[in-house]
């Protein structure tokens, strides 16, 4: 038997993908022996897939102002924000806010 995996989907929209190699959708298989909160996921993203200026994605331990985090299409504020614990097949979406017209 292999190590258990926690499979989730990461998505980026409205420009947030530009900080992550311009890839809009990624399937991740995280180490299933650990508990994964969003806080821990952000650290993992910083260490592993954030390719451009990190200050445009993170500020302190959280995402910078102007980026919305959605878990299964619901605002993370309704789900515990950084403390939310990822479940198998969760979809985590990062959206940059647009201001143009």
């Amino acid at each position: 038997m292999g190590t258990p995996e926690l499979k989730i989907i990461l998505e980026f929209s409205a420009g947030a993908e530009l900080l992550f190699g311009n890839i809009k959708r990624r399937e991740l298989a995280l180490d299933g022996n650990q508990k994964w909160t969003i806080a821990k996921l952000l650290k993992w993203m910083h260490a592993n897939i954030l390719t451009e200026r990190p200050e445009l994605f993170l500020q302190g331990d959280t995402v910078r102002p102007g980026i919305l985090v959605l878990i299964n299409d619901t605002d993370w504020e309704l789900l515990g924000e950084l403390d939310y614990e990822l479940q198998p097949r969760d979809n985590v979406l990062f959206i940059s806010t647009l201001h143009g017209g």
Partner: protein, 283 residues
């Protein structure tokens, strides 16, 4: 004070027949539109189609706000302006095109940059406000002003091939500050001048801003409040996002607001209220 219309004219009936036969619309819905007034802030890529569909639908009074003049680089998406009106102010150019579409619409041009001193006075006499602006400072200004005056704010935005749409300050939903308590770092903000934008994308979002305004005015269907519609034009995928409720500690829209008067939004955001020199540092 405006006249309250209680009857449709024969011309109204001929003009709006295909619309007033819609379920839950009817003569009463058309009269609500005729008696309504909508302020559109920004006569660019979003404001043009939004104004077009509101005027066409029979919205009785439109206010158009923009300080800018028509330039050639507008034409690819700002479809109310034209070569013959280069150099006109955008509200005047748009008003000219809209009156050709519907001469029964009363249209007022507000040729000015909206700021803390003039915003409340301008917004006060309208029922619904459309945020078709192009910068962060104006977005906070409009949201705060709409909270203070209790007006629904139909907020659209677009950049490159992406668009976003929601209605703030409506049916107990959040305001812009509930969602974005802190302005973004200015290095993270790309304007349409630098990033580009496709006209068909602003057209899609702008037409839907008109749709949401009509739904609010007529009392039709489910308005996009507490939800955010995101559009990726490159894949033609839409997504409906459930956003947070009103923040209990929102500085503006909570029961005990900390901010009860408009502030200096360029200072608050560290960015100018236009998309022309976003790089200029004010601080």
């Amino acid at each position: 004070t405006r006249t309250l219309h209680t009857k449709l004219t024969n011309d109204d009936i001929a003009r709006y027949s295909r619309q007033l036969i819609l379920p839950d619309f009817g003569v009463q819905g058309q009269l609500k539109l005729k008696n309504s007034s909508v302020l559109i802030v920004g006569m660019g890529g979003l404001g043009c189609p939004a104004a077009q569909y509101l005027a066409a639908a029979g919205c009785g009074h439109l206010g158009l706000v923009d300080y800018d003049h028509v330039e050639r680089s507008n034409f690819h998406r700002q479809i109310l302006h034209s070569e013959t009106r280069v150099g006109w102010t955008k509200p005047d150019s748009a008003r000219f095109a809209l009156l050709e579409l519907n001469p029964h619409c009363e249209i007022r041009s507000h040729v000015r940059l909206l700021n803390r001193f003039n915003a409340l006075n301008i917004i006060r006499s309208y029922d619904v406000v459309l945020d078709c602006s192009d910068n962060v400072a104006t977005r906070y200004l409009l949201s705060d002003a709409c909270v203070m005056l209790q007006k629904p704010l139909v907020s659209g935005s677009a950049l490159k091939m992406d668009g976003q749409l929601t209605v703030y300050n409506y049916a107990n939903g959040p305001c812009y500050r509930c969602l974005y308590p802190v302005p973004p770092p200015k290095e993270s903000v790309t304007n349409c001048g630098d990033g580009g934008v496709l006209g068909a994308v602003t057209g899609t979002i702008g037409a839907m801003q008109a749709l949401e305004a009509i739904k609010v005015i007529v009392g039709l269907g489910d308005v996009l409040a507490g939800r955010l519609l995101i559009f990726d034009g490159s894949t033609s995928l839409f997504r409906n996002i459930r956003i947070r409720n009103k923040r209990p500690n929102c500085h503006v829209c909570s029961a005990q607001p900390l901010i009860t008067q408009l502030i200096d939004y360029e200072m608050f955001c560290g960015m100018r209220a236009n998309d022309k020199d976003a790089e200029q540092n004010l601080l």
